[in-house]
Amino acid sequence: MAIISLSDGRKTWRRFTPSQQVTRWFAYLVAVAVFVWCWNRISEATTWFFVWDAPRIAGDILSRATPPRWSYIDKLWWPIWDTINIATLGTIAALFMAVPVAFMAARNTTPSRLFIRPIALLIIVATRSINSLIWALLLIAIIGPGVFAGIVAIAIRSIGFCAKLLYEAIEEIDHSQVEAITATGGSRWQVMAYGIVPQIMPAFAGIAVFRWDINIRESTVLGLVGAGGIGLQLSSSLNVLAWPQVTLILLVILVAVVVGEWVSAKVRGAII
């Protein structure tokens, strides 16, 4: 911010001082130069023949992939049902584990800030940072391929996400309501049930359906590594270049995701 005295004694105001102005223009100049240089490097490293050819190939695949092979739907009912179950059961299991972790991680409810809170935060970070596909690969090695591995992978991956959002909600509660319940002589658990839980219920419901919605998407790919669900059909169809089947599978996934989104929007609307 710059207040500048004019020669006739009046004052004027500009957003930037002249030297700030020059610095900003210089920064823009550098940014453009970097962009042009990067563009050239990428261009040199690209085999342009493949790029020019891409529309033709895409058109070719599209013509092979249409129309979808509708009769294949009979073989997809089970896998899509599995997929939805993986997402639902995985989310429920994750919520059961996330609730205690969230209470241990929230500054205002943790039993010990020095020992338990860091452990809870570690659980949150560790489960969040590893993708569910990688969890599935690990779990298949441990408990073998199948739907169960998928459920566990989804559950583990979701703990951190749910616990993080939930503990932030716990930290934001109105403390006076907790004080009031404490003042009545309620026990620690009663204070939790009356003072804290009602305040975080909307957040909890929102987090649960939001994560369920995400998990439907995540569980569609778990089959690619053998953890059950519709991804298995997708990967085998891709392997044998059965494009009409691939199209149908993608359509089925699309419908499942849209339905999931619709349900979660309805639930959230009803609660909040």
């Binding site: 006076s176 009031a180 009545t184 309620g186 305040q199």
Partner: protein
């Protein structure tokens, strides 16, 4: 009935909120605690039921010394001290009935309270109290649907259903309009009289305190500067409590209000 001996609170930041306060409140006495913001009024009443842990000193409720109690004994004693809050502190997403019944948590086990299976006697008492404060048909409404005055009435019911011997009241009227403020103060004082309760009421509105209470304590920088009858509050006294200001206006206004009050 309540006796504070050399009660001291020093916050970790080094602020001395209470400096060796001595105070005795006989049974059934309604007392107003006045003083500027930051004088330690809230800290004082929170040190009594140990929502804030006092640094040193003793608090006697009847014969029981509160500052050394373990957690379960403290919970038993907290049942005898009802608390009413400035911003009502109702659990917003629970119903009026649940809020009133939450005053019984100290008497009911966890699972009964969790499943909302309160004893019928408690429910009868809740209905009686709601009827007394004029909210009987609101019992099934959610607390966040109520107006400020109605919420404070629910807060009063929650404190009274504890069957307390003492009410700790923290700025009960600070969020209310002048008319509702008077109604709430009158209600609190009437209920204290009906039930023979002692009460400590933190209040900013000196005029309002003078109308309703029997005794006024002035707190400044964590120490008691004044202890006397409401009509002993002279401009000089208010100056020692709050600092220099033209107090004549405040006190004159009180006299007129008292006349209004007496007229009908």
């Amino acid at each position: 009935m309540l006796r504070l001996v050399e009660l001291t609170k020093t916050y970790p930041t080094g602020d001395q909120a209470l400096k060796a306060v001595n105070l005795e409140v006989p049974a059934g006495q309604v007392l107003a605690l006045i003083g500027p913001s930051g004088a330690g009024k809230s800290t004082l009443i929170r040190c009594i039921n140990r929502l804030v842990e006092p640094t040193s000193g003793k608090v006697y409720l009847g014969d029981v010394e509160l500052t050394t109690l373990g957690s379960s004994a403290l919970r038993r004693e907290r049942r005898r001290m009802g608390m009413i809050f400035q911003e009502y502190a109702l659990v917003e997403r629970l119903t009026v009935m649940e809020n009133v019944l939450s005053g019984r948590l100290g008497y009911v086990g966890f699972w009964r309270s969790f499943l909302r299976k309160f004893p019928q006697a408690d429910i009868d008492e809740a209905f009686r109290l709601l009827d007394r404060v004029g909210l009987l048909d609101m019992a099934d409404k959610r607390a966040d649907e109520l107006s400020g005055g109605q919420r404070q009435r629910v807060g009063i019911c929650r404190a009274l259903i504890q069957d307390p011997a003492l009410l700790l009241v923290d700025e009960p009227t600070a969020s209310l309009d002048p008319k509702t403020s008077r109604q709430i103060m009158r209600l609190i004082c009437e209920l204290c009289e009906e039930r023979g309760l002692a009460a400590i009421i933190n209040i900013h509105d000196v005029a309002l305190a003078q109308i309703f209470v029997q005794r006024v304590i002035g707190l400044r920088f964590g120490a008691i500067e004044f202890d006397g009858k409401p009509d002993e509050l002279t401009p000089e006294v208010l100056t020692t409590i709050y600092g220099e200001e033209d107090w004549e206006q405040t006190i004159e206004e009180v006299d007129e209000e008292e006349l209004d009050e007496a007229a009908p």
